[in-house]
Structures are given as C-alpha cells and as structure tokens.
C-alpha cells in the first residue's frame, strides 16, 4: 500500500515538472527526487528490514526575483532506506534547508542554511549528498564583499546540521582571496592569487554526561574553541598551473588515536598540472595529520564533519573496479596521484579518435610508514566510426583492510566495454569484466576472483533496458544480479529495477547512483522544473 502511495505521490509531484513557473515578477523552480525500495528476504545477504520498505523523498523549491532569491527543501523518509545513519525510528518529515539571499554586484548576504567551501575544503565544506544521507549545511548568516576583481572577502556564522537535527556547536569562519594577477595587471596572461581562511568551532565541554567529561579530561581537551587556519597559493600561466595549501589545526579530540590524546592537526596539499594540445598531466600530493574534524564532539557518524577529506584516487564507473575503494586515514596519511590523458583525433574524420588515460595513486600510513593503497591503471578508448566504440581498462589495486599493518591484498581488473549504435536511436552496450586476485602460498587473497557483465539496450531518448550480473567465482560464489528499465521524458526520469545489489555505483540509462547492499525492487524518480 505504501509502495503505491509513494508512486502516487511521485506522479503528483512530477506534474508541474513539464513547465517552468512564474510568480509575480519572479520565477519558481525546483526539483523532486524519490527513491523507494521494496526489500525481499535473501539468504545470501543480511536480513531485510522488518517492514520490507524504504522511501527517501526530497523536494526543493526556489524563488528568484532579480537579485533576490529564497528557497526551501523538505525531506520525507517513509521510512528511511536501509543503510542511512542516525534515524532510529526510520520515519521523518522535516525542513532540510531554507534560505533568503540578496546578491548584488559586489556583495552578497544569505540568511538560512549555508552550502559553501573554503579552498580545497580541508578546513570547511558544507554540502549535501543524498545517496550517502549527508547534509552538514550551516544554519546561520553568510556575507561576502568583492573589492572589484582584486579582493574577495566572505564570512559566516551558524550551527551545523547533524543529520536531521543540529549540532550543539557553533561554527564561524572567514575566507579571503587576493588576486595578485589583477592587482599587477597581468590577469590576461596569468592567474596568481594568495588566499587564506579561518574556521572556529565552539562547543561547551560541559554539555554531556560524566562519561563525556572523563573522555575530555583523559584526552587533555580543556578548550571549547577549535581553530583552523589555511593559507593557499594559486598560480597558472599558459598550460601550466600550481596550487598549494597549508593547514594548521589547534588541539582537537580524536578517539581513533592510539593513546586517545587530543592533538594539533595539519595538512599539506600540492598540485601541479600541465597541458598542451591533446596531452595533459596533473600530479597531486596530500599529507594529513589529525584532520578529521567533527561538527559535534558528542556525536559520531560520517555525517558529523565540518571539513572534507576525499580519497585522492581514481573514481571508477565499472563494478569490479569499485569493490574495494580506498578509505582516507585522516589521523595520519601521506600520498598522492598522477593522472595523464592523451587524445589523438583523425583530421579527416571527427568520428575516429583515440583517448588514452593512465593514473597512479598511492597512500602511506605516516605512523607505520606502510603502504595502505596503491593503484596503477590505464584505459584506452577507441571510437572506430560513428557506430562503434570500444574501451579497454586495466587496473591493479593493492589495498589493505588493516591500515597497512597486515600487508596488502591485490586485485587485477580487466574490463572490455563495447558500444554499437544501430541507427540514430537504437544502441547496444556490453561490458565484460574480470577480477584476478593475487595468490599467496596458493591461497586466495580476500574473496578471490570475480566476473561481471552488463548488457544495455537503449532507445534514445526515452527508453533504456539493462541486465547485469557480478559473480564471485572463488570464495563466496555469490551472484549480484539485476535488471530493469528507465523512461525519460525531458527532465523527468523513472527507473524500475529488481535485483541483488552490492554496495557501489550502478549505472544505467545514463545515470549513476550509489546504492547499499540489498535485494529487492527499486523505484527511482527524479524531476525538476
């Protein structure tokens, strides 16, 4: 019944999506997103949720009138999908964000929920990721002023969102960008800027129970203020660019530390790139020390963060290459990646070209000095004609489940991907994948070998049908199968599928989504207006 009700709700919601709207002299725009899953029991996976149903729904509406804008976002979990954190009873309908904003030529002021980032996000980033159930926006005030093109200054103050509630902390910050290229009059030839940011988190240390007080005392944490500073340099000329950032963080609690003591943190980020013609290369280095920064000292969870520390590794779109992604070790890691691209296109025929891409990334545990991750990979894409395209990818991933202390597992992944276009509308795409795990003393590494395949038939621009399977042929002998279709009409898209899903990205009909492990029927509806 609830499944049907959700479908009805979705159909009602997409009705306005066929038109853009005007109210007075302004305009209303918005979006609706709904993911509903009917879970079934599956002996191969953990037990399905008791009520066998989950539905996450998001409705965002904005109003714009000249320099003025305002908006709200309402979320409804009916109940929340399996795998989402911090929703004990599962059901929730709440106002997830609201804002009023005035944006003038040189200044801006926003009151409401703030989504923003300073520099690379090492000391502050507030954003929303619905697939992960993540929203750490700051509820408060933000103001910014631009002194011509030369100097840009902004500041904010507020309390961070913690899942469906708010943290009991207050966050304030400021960000300054000085464009030396504009000041020196060389902005047409080069970019050169000096930047700096400051973020403070204030949270009383007396809000919790006796256990909290004991933890703070044992860790040596006696200051309710946490301060973070960032200095940055950006430079670019011709095809060359360089970015650098240094971060200092004052003493902060870190329960992952072996001795549990609160310590200072720091981060170094460096990136250099060069491009010429069809060739481009970028090298990135990053070092972290105690940089995980919680929005609240009294809470846990991945959503409890005010900064952003992503894994600087290649992001794959193929199933087997995404089985064991690198997880950042913010307490102490050092490493980086090199990414190289080269394209070669026929001068006679634009529909014939080669795209080459190679990437190498490695990260070390700064305490043990051991490698936690290594990935060397390359892919070759060949467009043979208007009709035929092939991709071959190889990746060797060495990864650890023990922060490097107990050595590395190794996976060698081979992917073949062929797309054939029958005519203007009909096309077929086939993926074949194989993962070969290294053996030690004749024993399999981790779960052993995998095979996977996907067949996708599209009738552009409306319909797409797919079947896929991922099978562990050694250890677990588990099939992760699925099949379904999608229908798209302008900005509205419906996808219905059934299958056993392992955590990871699922791509079909033009959209990729992250999904936790489950077996069941999945209905996804998105629309905007």
């Amino acid at each position: 019944m609830r499944f049907l009700a959700t479908i009805l709700l979705a159909l009602v919601a997409i009705t306005p999506a066929v038109a853009q709207k005007k109210v007075g002299n302004g305009q209303v725009s918005g979006s609706f997103e709904s993911t509903s899953i009917g879970y079934v029991n599956d002996k191969r996976l953990d037990a399905a949720p008791e009520d066998h149903f989950g539905s996450n729904n998001y409705m965002k509406v904005d109003y714009n009138n000249g320099r003025f804008s305002a908006g709200i976002q309402a979320n409804a979990f009916l109940p929340v999908l399996q795998g989402y954190e911090d929703l004990a009873d599962g059901y929730k309908f709440y106002l997830a964000s609201k804002y009023i904003q005035w944006r003038d030529k040189n200044y801006e002021i926003l009151v409401g929920d703030i989504f923003d980032q300073y520099g690379n996000g090492l000391i502050y980033r507030s954003f929303e990721d619905r697939q992960l159930g993540f929203n750490n926006s700051i509820e408060g005030v933000r103001a910014g002023y631009n002194f011509g093109r030369y100097v840009s200054l902004k500041g904010m103050y507020g309390r961070p969102r913690l899942y469906t509630e708010y943290a009991s902390s207050w966050v304030r910050g400021a960000d300054l960008v000085v464009s030396l290229a504009d000041i020196c009059g060389i902005q047409d030839k080069a970019t050169l800027s000096l930047e700096g940011s400051y973020v403070n988190r204030f949270q009383k240390l007396t809000l919790g129970d006796d256990r909290d007080k004991m933890i703070f005392e044992a860790a040596g944490l006696d200051n309710p203020n946490l301060n973070m500073y960032s200095g940055r340099l950006n430079f670019g000329i011709g095809g060359f660019y360089l970015h650098g950032e240094y971060v200092h963080k004052s003493k902060d609690l870190n329960l992952d530390a072996v001795d549990g003591m609160a310590t200072n943190g720091s981060a170094i980020f460096g990136e250099a790139g060069y491009s010429h013609g069809g060739f481009s290369i970028v090298a990135t280095y990053r070092q972290l020390k105690n940089m995980a920064t919680r929005a609240s000292l009294y809470d846990d969870g991945t959503g409890n963060a005010i900064n952003y520390l992503p894994a600087l590794t290649r992001q794959y779109t193929y199933m087997l290459a995404n089985l064991n992604p690198y997880q950042v070790y913010a307490l102490g890691e050092m490493g980086g990646q090199v990414d190289v691209c080269y394209s070669l296109r026929s001068k006679e025929n634009r529909y014939r070209y080669w795209n080459f891409h190679a990437n190498f990334s490695t990260f070390y545990n700064t305490f043990s000095k051991r490698a936690m991750w290594r990935d060397i990979n390359f892919d070759v894409e060949r467009q043979w004609s208007k009709k035929l395209k092939t991709i071959f990818l190889f990746s060797r991933q060495e990864w650890s489940k023990s922060l490097g202390y107990q050595g590395l597992y190794a996976s060698n992944i081979f992917v073949g991907d062929v797309t054939y276009k029958f005519d203007r509308k009909k096309s077929l795409r086939v993926e074949v994948q194989y993962l070969y795990a290294d053996r030690h003393d004749g024993a399999y590494d981790y779960e052993g070998d995998w095979v996977a395949g996907l067949v996708e038939f599209s009738l552009a621009p409306r319909w797409s049908f797919f079947v896929q399977d991922m099978y562990n042929i050694d250890e677990t002998k588990t099939n992760y199968y699925s099949g379904g279709f999608s229908y798209t009409y302008n900005r509205t898209r419906v996808q219905l599928s059934y299958g056993r899903n392992r955590a990871g990205y699922i791509c079909s009909g033009g959209v990729c989504r992250y999904s936790p492990a489950y077996t069941g029927v999945n209905l996804v509806l998105t629309s905007s207006f």
Partner: protein, 162 residues
Amino acid sequence: MKKILSLICLLMGATTLFAQQLPDVSVENLDGKIVSLRSLVNGKPMIISYWSIACKPCIQELNAINDALEDWRKEADFTVVAVSTDDARLKAAAKNMATSRGWEFTCLFDDKQTLRRAMNVTQTPQAFVVDAEGNIVYSHTGYSPGSEEELFDKILELKKKK
C-alpha cells in the same frame, strides 16, 4: 503523507507557465578565473551540459556533442558549456580530461556545486538548451546514444523562431 501532498499541491497551484532564466551564479573556468554563467549569454543559443568524472554517460554525451559539432554548426550558430560538478576530489582529473579531449566547449568547474543547486540539477547528466536571451527552453536528464540529437533539434527550432 498528507503534509507532503498538501505542500506539493500548494506549490502546483501557486504557479503559471514561464521560461526560466539562467541563475546569476559565478564559477571557475578552465583558466582558474571566476566567471558568471549569465555573462556567457552572447546572443547565440547555448547548450549547457552537466557532467562529472564518475558519470560515464555524461562523458559519452559530451563526446557525442563534440563529434557532431562540426556538422551541427554548418546549420546553426550556438555555443556549448560543459559544467563539471566534480568536487575537490576529482576537479583536477576533470580539468585534465577537459583539456586533453579537445572539447570545443566553454568548460566550467562547479566544485562547490553552487550552480548545480541553483539550477536544481539532482542527477547528472542533465542538459539544458538556452535561447539567445538566456532563457531555458528545454532540458533533459540522462543520456542514451542518440539523445544528443534532441538537443540539436531544439537549437534548430530556436533558429526557425528567429
């Protein structure tokens, strides 16, 4: 449930048909300079396509547009803007790809996802067709080989209306 339905009905009832304008949001270009999306409106129709490194169909769509661009431009004059939604993790890789692929587009990098939120893009790929005055006249989400032809058809419709 009643609350949600009431909210949606209220929103539906409060609105009438209108062509949506591009938001006045500034993001970074390939050279690292901050540019306003509205400043790119130059009297020609425009295709705006949202993409990211982890979105394979997005890259397929951009490649398909780039392949056909020479033929299309013989029939209509328009520009293409590719907006990467990659955050700090993949922004460098996105720039790397955009420069090497030889895409004849204006490339923008919305790493803070300010523009994405302003244009209510929930999933990528999403492509918009914008008229010469900066009004959004068409949009589609998702990509299957051949969907790019729909974008060009809309550009031709705009040319006929002129």
